[in-house]
């Protein structure tokens, strides 16, 4: 029942890329794909900014003395690094870029439920980023990304309010994205696209969106309280006025721990897609993987107290939070086991996205298991606020979230741009990232275990070897990031034209042309198959806008 669409020679195929070439057509677009691209450019920029801070941090730590920057500057560097990476890169990264671009296509819809809100969310994000950038250029902030009072409220004389306001505003963009996705998944699925036919990326996005709408408002009100405390001294976090600084920690981590799952759940969705495609097997235990996303989102809301083991929290609360933190390991392990079972006897090909996905599984495993060390009440007292914690969360956020972001970038690059990237270079870059990452952060586990505290710009001379290794790893990692930047940009002009389905994958996004037409499909797809149901290629019908050709990319 395939309908061959023959492109009319004279008229170039309309794609979302050439449907309007003016700047205005991009800045006022309501097309979810273009909004995804706007986010892609913005968050990649902030990744670069956060990366520059990281570089300066690693350079300072090359020697035990403080010779590159002052203590005050160093405090600002790690604060800005954390804020930029967490709030302006990791949280919007996969949901706002790939979620926006792919989610409506994956469920067979023409757009998200609220295209105007979607565009608004980008402007809100950029407004927040503007405030944060103003604070950055005016002199920065030095409280750590956690804004703990009383330092942030009473003592820090840096730009706490401007930065806090930036995060407050950017938070609303996160809420709008989450709201949009939830409603889109509920109401916009194509005929036949039942809940259990949804790609696992969509399930992961759904779980992420739940956290975004439930957690982010709490962060917003918390930052508002910090601003009020700082300006008029209302006393809510000030013990001299009857308040309690620990209340801030509870409120802050009620969002910021689940926020870790905002960063990593979409990555898990990406990995599920990639593992199934490059093993050419349906994902093992689809429903378990789907529900484990929801379980992580829900249980993730009940573990924030493990950040307060040393903050005068009651021992019984600590025990409960420890137990619940261990409970998160269960759904996480379900995912890792199911991915591994999917690989078993699959016909695996090691394309670049797969290398990133396999890297994710290994690094997430290390990051997750060291998380259990930290969830143990006794051990946590020893390694609390040391490099062990730093290494742990970088294994989750860089080894997990960032590797999946790069994997997603390569996997869907042909779909988004209509061009293939150079596979050899991409595999090489993936290996460089993996080696560089491990060399950067594995020594930090040892540093932390030996007692090196985080957030110090000088250290005892016996730690120097490990710090030098870490800095060396960071430079290799930087090369691993610069390489894709070069060859992906190169491929925009010079890469081979991508077919609709370069990976012989199964999702609906591969049933439309690369790049997709503005309305995603020529007609509403009717879904009669399950996710990851691999079929002979000739049966897969393309319901996009015809065959790829060079004119469809440039519109000339």
């Amino acid at each position: 029942m395939s309908t061959a669409v023959i492109p009319v020679e004279a008229k170039p195929r309309t794609t979302y890329l050439n449907a309007g070439q003016t700047l205005k057509s991009w800045l006022l677009t309501l097309d979810h794909k273009r909004i995804g691209i706007l986010y892609l450019i913005s968050v990649t920029f902030f990744f670069l900014v956060g990366g520059i801070y990281a570089t300066l941090i690693r350079l300072e730590l090359l020697t035990p003395q403080g010779d590159l920057v002052s203590a005050q500057t160093y405090n600002k560097l790690f604060t800005q690094h954390g804020i930029t990476m967490v709030f302006f890169f990791l949280i919007p990264s996969i949901p706002a870029v790939f979620g926006n671009f792919l989610l409506p296509i994956m469920i067979g819809a023409k757009d998200v439920a609220f295209p105007r809100l979607n565009l608004l969310s980008w402007y809100v994000f950029m407004t927040g980023a503007l405030f944060a950038s103003y604070a950055m250029f005016a002199g920065g902030v030095d409280t750590g990304w956690t804004f703990y009072p009383p330092y942030s409220t009473n003592y820090a004389n840096t730009y706490v309010i401007a930065t806090g306001l930036g995060i407050f505003i950017a938070g609303f963009s996160s809420i709008l994205t989450g709201l949009n996705f939830i409603v889109t998944i509920h109401t916009m699925r194509a005929p036949g696209m039942t809940w259990f036919r949804l790609p696992l990326f969509v399930w992961a996005q759904y779980a992420t969106s739940l956290i975004q709408i439930l957690g982010t408002p709490v962060l917003a009100i918390t930052l508002l309280l910090v601003a009020l405390e700082r300006t008029v001294g209302i006393g809510i976090f000030d013990p001299r006025l009857g308040g309690d600084p620990v209340l801030f920690q509870h409120l802050f981590w009620f969002y910021s721990h689940p926020a870790v799952y905002i960063m990593v759940l979409p990555s898990m969705g990406v990995v599920s897609e990639i593992i199934a495609t490059f093993s050419r097997k349906p994902i093992f235990g689809y429903k378990f993987v789907a529900f484990s996303s929801l379980a992580i989102a829900i249980v993730g809301f009940l573990v924030w107290g493990h950040h307060l083991f040393t903050s005068s929290q009651s021992v019984y609360a600590g025990m409960l939070f420890s137990l619940l933190s261990y409970a998160v390991a269960i759904p996480s392990a379900i995912k890792v086991f199911n991915w591994t079972a999917t690989l078993y006897r699959g016909s695996i090909s090691y394309d670049a996205p797969m290398l990133y996905a396999l890297g994710f599984i290994g690094l997430f495993l290390i990051g997750g298991l060291t998380g259990l060390f930290l969830a143990a009440l006794g051990l946590d007292v020893h390694v609390h606020d040391t490099y062990f914690v730093v290494a742990h969360f970088h294994y989750i956020m860089v080894g997990g979230a960032l590797l999946a972001y790069l994997g997603a970038m390569h996997y869907w690059w042909p779909k988004m741009t209509g061009r293939l990237y150079p596979e050899g270079w991409a595999r090489f870059a993936a290996l460089v990232v993996f080696v560089g990452f491990n060399l950067t952060f594995f020594p930090q586990f040892i540093l932390g275990y030996l007692g090196m505290p985080r957030r110090y710009y000088t250290y005892a001379p016996e730690f120097q070897l490990l710090h030098v290794l870490s800095t060396a790893g960071a430079s290799i990692l930087a090369v691993g990031f610069i390489l894709p930047a070069i060859y992906l940009l190169w491929s925009l002009k010079k890469g081979p034209i991508a077919p609709a389905d370069p990976w012989l994958a199964t999702g609906l996004e591969w049933r439309t042309s690369s790049p997709p037409p503005p309305e995603n499909f020529e007609r509403t797809p009717i879904v009669t198959w399950n996710a990851y149901e691999f079929r002979p290629q000739e049966e897969a019908e393309v319901i996009g806008g015809g065959k790829p050709d060079a004119s469809s990319l440039t519109g000339e």
């Binding site: 309007g20 309501l30 709201l179 916009m188 009100i221 006393g235 006025l241 309305e519």
Partner: protein
């Protein structure tokens, strides 16, 4: 927009209010209603932070909170409660008349709702100015006669933060009503297309319910304690 060319080809008597990416009015209505419910959940979490702070400090300083609450005007607060509940009734009636397509009654009840909302805000202004004259504005300008003035200050700033945030939502609600009245007057809403009225109604009721919690927590908490 470029998309319109594609849809125009198979546009068979679409409702003018149907957005291009929806299949039909029913899907569009479902999406906007669910969207509003999800938004209200985020609102609950937003207010939730303040309610949590209230719970903690009240359980720490129950006596001070009870005494401080005597400085609030139960009569004005009570009148405002009645005003808001009545406005919820008129809003519900407006939604009903938008569903049956009764334009005159729709406009009437929307205007009544807006007037009640403005009444609430007016009374709130009177209350706030009383607090200002009594020197009960926390932070810069706070003179409290009773015991533990610092703990009482926490009560008062919770009072201002919670009722202030609520009043902000009322102002937004009244502005939404102004738009609704204008479009209802122009005859934009019909039994086929009335979801803007419906979801604004949901929002209005939500703001009303927040007040239903705020009134006893702030005004009545000291009612049974001799002041």
């Amino acid at each position: 927009m470029a998309q319109s060319e594609v849809t125009a080809q198979h546009a068979i008597a679409h409702h003018p209010a149907l957005a291009h990416h929806f299949e039909n009015m029913e899907q569009q209505r479902e999406a906007s209603t669910l969207g509003m419910w999800v938004f209200l959940i985020t609102e609950i979490m937003f207010f939730g932070g303040l309610f949590l702070a209230y719970s903690i400090y009240r359980s720490w300083y129950p006596q001070v909170f009870a005494e401080a609450s005597h400085h609030l005007d139960i009569l004005l607060g009570g009148i405002n409660t009645v005003v808001l509940i009545t406005s919820s009734l008129t809003m519900a009636l407006a939604v009903y008349h938008s569903q049956v397509g009764n334009r005159g009654k729709l406009v009437l009840f929307l205007i009544l709702t807006m007037l009640l909302g403005l009444t609430f805000l007016g009374i709130k202004v009177i209350e706030y100015s009383h607090k200002f004259h009594d020197g009960l504005i926390p932070g810069i300008h706070f003179h409290y006669e009773g015991p533990h003035p610092q703990q009482a200050q926490i009560f008062f700033w919770l009072y201002f933060a919670m009722t202030g945030l609520h009043a902000l939502h009322m102002i937004i609600g009244v502005s939404i009503l102004a738009f609704l009245i204008y479009f209802a007057w122009r005859g934009r809403y019909s039994p086929e297309y009335h979801s803007p009225v419906e979801i604004s109604g949901l929002y209005w009721h939500f703001v009303d319910i927040v007040w239903i919690f705020l009134f006893p927590l702030l005004y009545l908490v000291g009612f049974h304690v001799k002041g």
